[in-house]
């Protein structure tokens, strides 16, 4: 906060004190960062240990590393492959994200660039759906899915995840679209560009970083979802989080295996999150914070 001149060797006492405080605060910041990261580091380290080394007290930090936990996760011992749930998760997340983008992009246009009447009310309607727990509508969804034979299919999850992420996406994209310069749009309309052309040829390229961030956040939320996947899927369409909950056995040591599983399943989210880091706040705060 305080800017101390670099070359000042003989600083007055208060400045020197301030400088020392600043060093302590930096140290504290580092400690906080490391403390919060510690469980993650521990997870990764444990995943690389053998089951016996993982389950010692005190923990054996320097134990030799092995990929045994990962091999176990990929079904070496049990013969249960994690690929079907991983592919289910990937399909559900990717397809729903694409659907979200396809629906949210034009909607955001109609809420920012050429706004409909009462666009604020519409915007807040979108947001309010996000604030009401979908679990309260779980039963009707289940019953309808049962009748339409959508239970235990990915498509049901795709529909639900799309509706879950659509409000966030509309809000995010609206805030990105609102930044498109008006002159460009006027020029386009003078040149006779229609809605589709304007959206795909003019607005999309300008707002690409925003669209990408929206896609990543929508992907993360779909990938993480457990409750609906657990209730509405079974053997066929179970997703990675559901697979993870069924992974813990009551017999034998499983800590390294669980940590390996948790690491593998979190990897796509961590990658997406780091990629979207700068826009993460804007997405999570629904575009209210830049």
């Amino acid at each position: 906060m305080t800017r101390v001149p670099r070359a000042a060797r003989r600083l007055p006492a208060p400045a020197r004190r301030r400088r020392r405080t600043s060093a302590y605060l930096s140290l504290l910041a580092w400690l906080c960062g490391l403390l919060f990261f510690l469980p993650v580091a521990w997870m990764v380290l444990t995943s690389l240990h053998s089951e016996t080394d993982a389950a010692t007290n005190p923990p054996s930090l320097g134990a030799s590393l092995t990929l045994h936990g990962y091999r176990e996760f990929f079904g070496e011992g049990s013969g249960i492959s994690p690929w079907p749930p991983l592919i289910n998760s990937l399909t559900a997340s990717l397809v729903s994200t694409l659907l979200v983008l396809a629906l949210a992009f034009p909607a955001a246009y109609a809420l920012s660039i050429k706004p409909v009447r009462k666009w604020r009310d519409v915007l807040f309607f979108f947001l309010s759906t996000k604030m009401l727990p979908l679990v309260a509508g779980l039963l009707p969804v289940y019953l309808v899915a049962q009748h339409t034979h959508l239970l235990d299919t990915i498509w049901l999850l795709v529909i639900l995840y799309t509706s879950m992420n659509l409000p966030i996406a509309v809000w995010m994209m609206r805030s990105f679209l609102a930044e498109v310069p008006v002159e460009i749009l006027e020029a386009a309309s003078i040149d006779g560009a229609g809605l589709a052309t304007t959206l795909t040829r003019i607005i999309a390229p300008i707002t690409m970083p925003g669209i990408a961030a929206t896609a990543l956040i929508s992907f993360i939320f779909s990938w993480n979802e457990l409750l609906f996947a657990r209730v509405l899927t079974g053997v066929v369409a179970g997703t990675a989080p559901v697979f993870l909950t069924g992974f813990v056995t009551s017999q034998g040591l499983f800590l390294a295996k669980v940590c390996a599983a948790a690491t593998v399943i979190s990897l796509p989210v961590i990658a997406a999150g780091f990629a979207a880091q700068d826009k993460l706040v804007q997405g999570l705060s629904l575009g209210a914070v830049k």
């Binding site: 930096s26 997870m43 727990p133 009707p140 969804v141 409750l227 780091f274």
Partner: protein
Amino acid sequence: MPTQATDASAHGPNGASHARGRTTMDRARARARRAPLLPALVFLIIVTQLPFVATVVISFLRWNALAPENRGLAGFDNYRAVFTDPALRSSVGTTILLTVTVVLVSLLLGLGIALLLDRGFRGRGIVRTLLITPFLIVPVAAALLWKHALFNTSYGFLNGVLTWLWSLFGSDSPPQPDWMTSTPLAAVEVALIWQWTPFMMLILLAGLQSRPADVVEAALVDGASSFDIFRYLTLPHLRRYLELAALLGTVYVVQNFDAVFTLTSGGLGTANLPYTIYQTFYQAHDYGRASAQGVVVLLCSLVVATFALRSVSSLLREESVR
């Protein structure tokens, strides 16, 4: 902000035309404006709002999946059952306690860390990245991590560290608490706080960085202390961001299912409302009562949501003024 400009131009022609008789062209134009919005709006209403309506209807029915032929109107019976059910009443209490604790603690921690990160220092980007990571662990994975790798009595990391510390001082009988059974709710809370502090931190840090620097510098020149600056400049500026972070955090934490389900399976007084609904629905097959619970949850959320929406809307207005 461009929205303002386009907004004005959007209402301009309408205002100029005769207010009474809107011409066909106006109507066609309005329809053209609405067209890109409709798919998203209709989709969302069908998938998220119709189920709520159905839930309200079912909540007044006597309907158990195990006795499907005995279906009929139940009046307020389900609601009576819901409100006299001690399990549900305690789960309301648990939900409130869990949400308030998690949101408050992670908000305070997030504020502290955001203040630390708002200063320039070496490796700031790295520290920020380290801090965000907990938020990016899949919630189920995080819950499993805490349950088995950290809280476990015999080989969890926490008790391992205790063994270490005690052996440093020459003791070989360290305390080995059973975190999950002695303090089950606190265990869930700690795991959630760990995941939600980065969220709060990110929003508050964004708030801090939008604070006008010149005012702070002027105050420094005038000899204001760091505390004064925090109390009279930073905190008032942060108020909206604190509100927003708290309310969005509340919205997400109230709906938490993963941590409760994985860590304690709702046992030992940790069952919150989403978990209780899940249980009623999944295990008891009492559709009517599950729906009545759903309606109660819905009404509670509506109260929180109203406040949250107001906060977001004030931020939105502030943004358009800027």
